[in-house]
């Protein structure tokens, strides 16, 4: 006999009511996340929903081994909290990739654990449990390994340029076939943990193979896609385990993640199948890019004093930031420079390409950190017609998103991607570390234009030098 209160708390209907409260909080939280003014509270609302779902699950009577559960949660917290707290804003995209990966890994492991349990208790489970388990195992494993590769590429442990093996598509198809064939063998009656492990391994190799050939510039879209996949696999696990919280939480992410992936792909004028089939430069076009445009031309370099004079006497300056600004942590120095110019009556605004940096919104976050006013940040469609009236455009660590080859050179791998038309302004000054190509590995004809000059060096140091010189003008 249990006390009435205790039996009420562990009643399955009560737990389902708590789940419903959690769903409401997820949905309201996500809704709030779509507006800048309520986004932060929205995230907290969703987090509270998650806490309620976890507590409700712990109340379920059949849940046991609290010691091991506590151990798992403790390990996760000890690893997760410092990682999230200490990661620098520049490394945020790869952190999201990593967190997504462990989610996929959790799904695959749970599927494996559930299958082992079933084998120990009378063999294969019913099909309505077995099929979702197999689906969760395949997709979870792909997501785990794919996300790890995405992390490695963004962290520059693995080169950002596309890595291809011969007959890539054939190998991928064979791997998928192997995983699906093993799954079918299990569904049609084979009771074998060996086959299950084969599924996990084939999906793991597939996850690696699919993401390795994707060029760095497409990485945000890939992370978003893997995010949606992890959501789907979590929903499948929910069907296998008869748990509505997993079904709803998983599928909401699966659905919204798909929409988000599409929005990002659209911003780059790329289709998702196109990206997954092999990234920029995938078909051996790597070196061919803007070659024709740059023949016989050389890039001009300039110095800080010269840049300072051009800026100080301009009436309109646009700053186009990219990943180089993030790497150099130059956002505060850039704002100081903008403040100094505005004191002199120069109109300064920022041109934000939708995929500048390594993630959409990456630049907005960084500049907001440096207290750059919201209305100075202009999105691509708004700023592009204004370049013609701009005296000087300062390109800070951006490359591919300013590449005119995307507009003019039909042979370029990035042809058709919307870009910032910085080359239409009077003068273009590009702050760069070196003459290396951008993340996509494509040459940029912008650098060889007559009205373009380059200031080499670390973005933060260069901006600081220019700032000092502006004060002396």
């Amino acid at each position: 006999m249990t006390l009435p209160v205790a039996s009420f708390l562990t009643d399955l209907d009560f737990i389902r009511v708590l789940y419903i409260v959690a769903f409401v909080l997820f949905i309201v939280g996500m809704r709030m996340l779509t507006k800048p003014s309520t986004a932060r509270q929205g995230n907290m609302v969703a987090a509270v929903g998650m806490a309620i779902a976890v507590v409700a699950t712990l109340l379920i009577e059949s849940v046991g081994d609290y010691g091991l559960i506590a151990l798992g949660i403790a390990i996760g917290t000890i690893v997760g909290v410092p990682a999230a707290r200490q990661v620098r804003m520049t490394a945020m995209p790869q952190m999201v990739a990593l967190f997504n990966g462990v989610g996929g890994g959790a799904v695959a492991l749970i599927a494996w654990g559930e299958y082992r349990h079933a084998l120990g208790h009378g063999g294969n489970p019913e099909l309505d449990t077995l099929i979702p388990i197999l689906f969760a195992a395949i997709v979870g494993s792909i997501s785990f390994w794919g996300s790890n590769i995405a992390f490695g590429k963004l962290q520059e442990i693995i080169p950002g340029k596309p890595i291809t093996v011969p007959a890539q598509q054939v190998v991928n198809a064979l791997l998928l076939l192997a995983a699906v064939a093993a799954a079918i063998a299990i569904v049609t009656g084979s009771e074998s943990q060996g086959l299950f492990i084969l599924i996990l391994v084939a999906a793991a190799v597939l996850g690696n193979m699919v993401v390795l050939p994707i060029g760095g510039a497409d990485m945000p879209v890939v992370i978003s896609l893997l995010n949606a996949l992890t959501g789907l696999s979590a929903a499948a696990a929910g069907i296998a385990l008869d748990n509505t919280a997993l079904i709803v939480g998983g599928i909401i992410v699966g659905a919204s993640g798909t929409i988000l992936t599409n929005l990002m792909a659209e911003a780059m004028n790329r289709s998702i199948p196109n990206i997954v089939a092999g990234g920029f430069g995938g078909g051996g076009t790597g070196g061919g890019g803007g070659g024709a445009d740059t023949d016989g031309k050389t890039a001009k370099s300039t110095d800080a004093a010269d840049v300072a004079i051009q800026l100080a006497y301009a009436s309109r300056v646009v700053i186009a930031p990219g990943y180089g600004l993030a790497v150099a942590q130059a956002q505060h120095t850039v704002r100081e420079l903008a403040d100094e110019l505005e004191k002199r009556g120069v109109d300064v605004s920022y041109a934000i390409h939708p995929v500048a940096g390594r993630m959409p919104g990456h630049m907005n976050v960084l500049l907001a950190e440096a207290d750059v006013p919201y209305d100075a940040l202009k999105e691509m469609d708004e700023i592009n017609p204004e370049f013609a009236q701009t005296d000087v455009t300062l390109v800070i660590g951006a490359n591919d998103v300013t590449n005119p080859a995307a507009r003019e050179d039909e042979g370029s791998p990035i042809y058709g991607m919307p870009i910032l038309d910085v080359d239409k302004s009077g003068q273009v000054i590009v702050l760069k570390r070196s003459m290396n190509t951008g993340f996509a590995g494509i040459d940029n004809p912008l650098f060889y234009n007559d009205n373009t000059s380059l200031l080499f060096g670390d973005a933060k140091a260069s901006v600081a030098d220019v700032l000092t010189e502006v004060k002396n003008v």
Partner: protein, 111 residues
């Protein structure tokens, strides 16, 4: 719960997911991706649900790792999202909002 009920929930929740994200400014793509990323960490519940019935060291180890992974996904995901959004806090809102804002602070007047 029978399969059909679960599929009903699945399909309806998918539509909610589609609708909720229909219109998002570019600025919020990254935080939104990061927050939904944290939400799929709900798979943590799956580990909690089945670990009690697990037998043997390997099964227990697999599920402890699964719970740890899920926890990293949830806790890390929400914290990272909060850090991203924290940066939007002090930003003055675009004037067209029509919201009643508190009087500007000394620092804002000073600018």
């Amino acid at each position: 719960m029978d399969l059909i009920t679960e599929l009903t929930i699945l399909v309806l929740a998918a539509f909610v997911g589609f609708e909720v994200i229909s219109k998002v400014p570019n600025t919020l793509h990254t935080p939104l991706m990061s927050a939904t990323n944290a939400i799929h960490g709900i798979v943590l519940l799956g580990g909690i649900l089945i670990i009690g019935a697990a037998e043997g060291f390997l099964s227990n180890a697999i599920l402890v790792i699964a719970i740890a992974f899920g926890t990293i996904n949830v806790v890390g995901g929400f914290l990272v999202t909060d850090r991203m959004l924290e940066m939007f806090k002090k930003r003055p809102m675009p004037p067209a909002k029509g919201e009643v804002k508190p009087a500007p602070t000394k620092a804002e007047i000073g600018q």
